[in-house]
């Protein structure tokens, strides 16, 4: 028998160490320490109910366990085989107590469709993929379905593009199918330029065949013979695994001529990007593949009419493609039963920032932000307070405390002033300054703007300058209006999605954290204490014993005072390096 105790960061704050100790002591007291193992585990993703103790092999889960409960668990459950009822979880809906992990609805909030094989199969061995049903959907489509039939399934499934726009994938395929041409292309967008996002990389590294198979299915549906994967050269491992996968698929007759003896020909090539964010925009991506500058052009014409080499081209994101085979095999109804009314299926998020369980998760659409951050994500690091979460990367906006119970889907996020984007989710805590966050994203867009059109090239630069001004304490209330007006003009007049969305981080922080902006421009204070120029180091004379340690460490001699007398910092000399504060043993130095 084993007792598993959750040692995830969230539960650790709630005394999981003490529970471990007490369980061991109780077992020893009953001479059971050699028969029963006490094991510390990682997070169960049940932080709301923590600390958790799971009894194996019975699979009984105890929730909200106290160190004092150890005795009862040992004497009742272990020794007498009786469950400790009061520690079992009560289902909020049925009001019944549930003991088995598998029966807990709240347990396992994640559902893996896109990541179904990631971490499971050897991506460099096609046989493992085949053992997990790779290429089965392709076989089914090629032998049992017409292009129209397969497109209808994708359309009915409600799948929407995961690259950011959220356009219906079935509809996109239908348009490409209807545009007749002797030459058509299927393009997989694996550019993934958002800072903090790595969903697509993980899929390509863990399960490349899922993407290859779906591209071939798309090729059959839109009557294209050639697929191109546009991937950034900064993803060497993903590139290597894709190459291996393509080679093996060709050897097995699953790519190339006469696939599975059906007469259908389809082959895939890799094209490299140099890691420019704007090249993720589909028209820029196509130009880049053609050897031209990676600059967007006006749509229409959409790629489905005139794309690569002027031919009808269907561009989809990696994650979109990874959904295709399960939809074909399990049906449109299955897929559309998952998610919300207008957003079907699951979404992969890359959790980053001040969150305990940094990493990739996949949840059904409609999962709330609270579930993502506080249950699956294990909560905020160091028990700090949640402040905001940025979705949609540099094109998105921030969600705040009032959005915690918002079901995450395409439309809700837009209504909340953010967007789904590709799935990066950056969590910020009370120590983050939202003006600086907006400035950080603007740094990125200014750097990544291709410079083709004036509103984006000049406007974003101006926005950035204004934010810089504000964080330096030189802003005024009028600047806040200027920020908003300029943002709206940039959004309205930019050529491509980059410029049209780049002011979003500014607008959403302005809306949600207006007081913080006001503090920066009126009282010249940064409430989070992040903006260096607005900080002042200050010595509390009551705490200062006059040890002179601070004065000696200050590199610019800004601190004066007699030995054994309270010292003083001269703010006009201080360069705010923080050295004195680190040195002070009496907590006499604070930031104001």
């Amino acid at each position: 028998m084993q007792l598993l105790v959750c040692g995830g960061t969230g539960c650790n704050d709630l005394q999981s160490e003490a529970i471990l100790d007490n369980l061991r002591l109780e077992l020893e007291a009953n001479a059971l320490e050699n028969d029963i193992q006490v094991i510390k585990t990682g997070c169960f993703g049940l932080c709301k109910l923590g600390p958790i103790v799971k009894v194996m092999p019975d699979e009984i889960i105890y929730t909200k366990v106290n160190p004092d409960d150890a005795r009862e668990i040992v004497t009742e459950h272990i020794m007498k085989g009786r469950k400790v009822e009061r520690l079992l979880f009560t289902d909020p809906i049925t009001k019944k107590t549930i003991s088995k992990a598998g029966e807990m609805n709240v347990y396992k909030k994640q559902l893996r469709i896109v990541l179904r094989n990631c971490g499971v199969i050897d991506p460099e061995n096609i046989e493992e993929a085949i053992a997990h049903d790779a290429y089965k959907a392709l076989g089914k489509v090629l032998t049992e379905m017409s292009p129209e039939g397969a497109i209808k399934i994708i359309k009915d499934s409600g799948l929407r593009g995961r690259g950011g726009g959220g356009f219906s994938t079935g509809l996109k395929w239908e348009i490409a199918f209807k545009n007749k041409s002797d030459e058509k292309y299927v393009v997989c967008n694996a550019d993934e330029g958002d800072p903090g996002a790595f969903m697509d990389r993980s899929v390509l590294e863990g399960d490349p065949h899922s993407v290859l198979e779906a591209m071939a299915i798309c090729g059959y549906c839109i009557e294209a013979g050639k697929g191109l994967i546009y991937i950034r050269a900064e993803y060497p491992l993903a590139v290597a695994r894709l190459k291996t996968a393509i080679k093996q698929a060709r050897e097995y007759g699953l790519l190339g001529n006469n696939i599975m003896g059906t007469g259908f020909n389809f082959d895939i090539e890799i094209r490299y990007g140099a890691g420019a964010f704007v090249c993720g925009e589909e028209t820029a991506l196509i130009h880049s593949m053609e050897g031209l500058r990676g600059e967007p052009t006006v749509k229409p014409p959409f790629p489905a009419e005139s794309g690569y080499r002027g031919k009808p081209t269907n561009v989809n994101n990696v994650e979109t493609f990874a959904c295709i085979s399960p939809i074909i095999l399990k049906g449109a109804e299955w897929f559309s039963s998952i998610g919300t009314q207008k957003s079907k299926g699951t979404k992969v998020f890359a959790l980053a920032g001040k969150i305990n369980n940094v990493g990739l998760i996949e949840v059904p659409m409609g999962t709330t932000l609270r579930e993502v951050i506080f249950e699956i994500g294990g909560g905020i690091q160091y028990g700090k307070k949640f402040k905001a979460a940025q979705t949609g990367g540099p094109s998105g906006g921030c969600l705040t405390e009032k959005h915690l119970d918002l079901p995450l889907d395409f439309d809700n996020l837009i209504a909340a002033g953010s967007m789904m984007g590709s799935g990066g989710l950056i969590v910020m805590d009370e120590d983050d300054c939202m003006v600086s966050v907006a400035k950080y994203f603007l740094d990125f867009t200014v750097e990544e703007s291709c410079g083709k059109c004036a509103p984006c090239r000049i406007g974003n630069k101006r926005l950035h300058e204004l934010l810089e001004h504000i964080t330096k304490g030189k802003g005024t209330m009028a600047d806040l209006d200027r920020l908003r007006n300029m943002s709206l003009v940039i959004k309205d007049t930019s050529l491509c999605g980059l410029g049209q969305s780049s002011p979003n981080p500014v607008l959403s922080t302005l809306d949600n954290f207006h007081d913080e902006y006001v503090a920066h421009v009126t009282t010249k204070k940064c409430p989070a204490g992040k903006c260096r120029d607005l900080m002042e180091y200050f010595i509390i004379s009551a705490n200062c014993v006059g040890c002179t340690a601070c004065a000696r460490v200050c590199p610019v001699n800004a601190i004066t005072g007699e030995r054994k007398e309270p010292h003083l910092i001269n703010p006009s000399i201080c360069i705010k390096c923080g050295a004195c504060m680190e040195k002070c043993k009496f907590d006499a130095i604070i930031i104001q």
């Binding site: 084993q2 598993l4 040692g7 193992q37 094991i39 510390k40 585990t41 990682g42 997070c43 169960f44 993703g45 049940l46 194996m56 347990y107 396992k108 909030k109 994640q110 559902l111 893996r112 469709i113 990541l115 179904r116 990631c118 971490g119 499971v120 199969i121 050897d122 991506p123 460099e124 493992e128 085949i130 053992a131 049903d133 290429y135 089965k136 076989g139 089914k140 090629l142 032998t143 990389r201 993980s202 590294e205 863990g206 491992l237 050897e251 097995y252 007759g253 699953l254 599975m260 003896g261 059906t262 399960p326 399990k330 369980n357 940094v358 990493g359 990739l360 998760i361 699956i376 294990g378």
Partner: protein, 122 residues
């Protein structure tokens, strides 16, 4: 390997692969080697496991897989003992890997650092 000439062929080859995989039931270890795993030292763990299992005459399959998404606990490995549910261990260094071999792989005894499965899959 012959090329697959029809969907029926694909089924056949799947069956053959599965038979080959399950024919020789033995402990199966997956080392998660995506960018995130590799950056935290998964390659070293793979080499350590390969060498040590051989040294200690333990017959097990080692598979290189992609990442599971547990970036906060990389490197991670999954061990499936014959007839048991697989277990995933996080923050595996050489010392932990040694403990896993000695305790779990050899005797089925659990060791600290198990990452509970908190997802369903299709």
């Amino acid at each position: 390997m012959e090329t697959i000439k029809s969907p029926a062929d694909l089924e056949k080859s799947k069956a053959a692969i599965l038979a080959r995989m399950h024919g020789k039931e033995k402990t199966r270890i997956r080392v998660h080697m995506g960018t995130s795993g590799l950056a935290s030292g998964a390659k070293e763990i793979l080499e350590f496991l390969t060498l040590e299992l051989q040294k200690r005459s333990i017959d097990a399959d080692i598979i290189r897989a992609g990442d599971l998404g547990y970036c906060f606990a990389e490197p991670t490995i999954e061990v499936k003992r014959v007839g048991e549910d697989p277990l995933v261990f996080g923050n595996v260094d050489k010392q932990k890997a040694d403990e896993i071999i000695e305790k779990y792989i050899k005797n089925g005894e659990y060791v600290d650092g198990i990452l509970p499965v908190n997802y369903r899959t299709i």
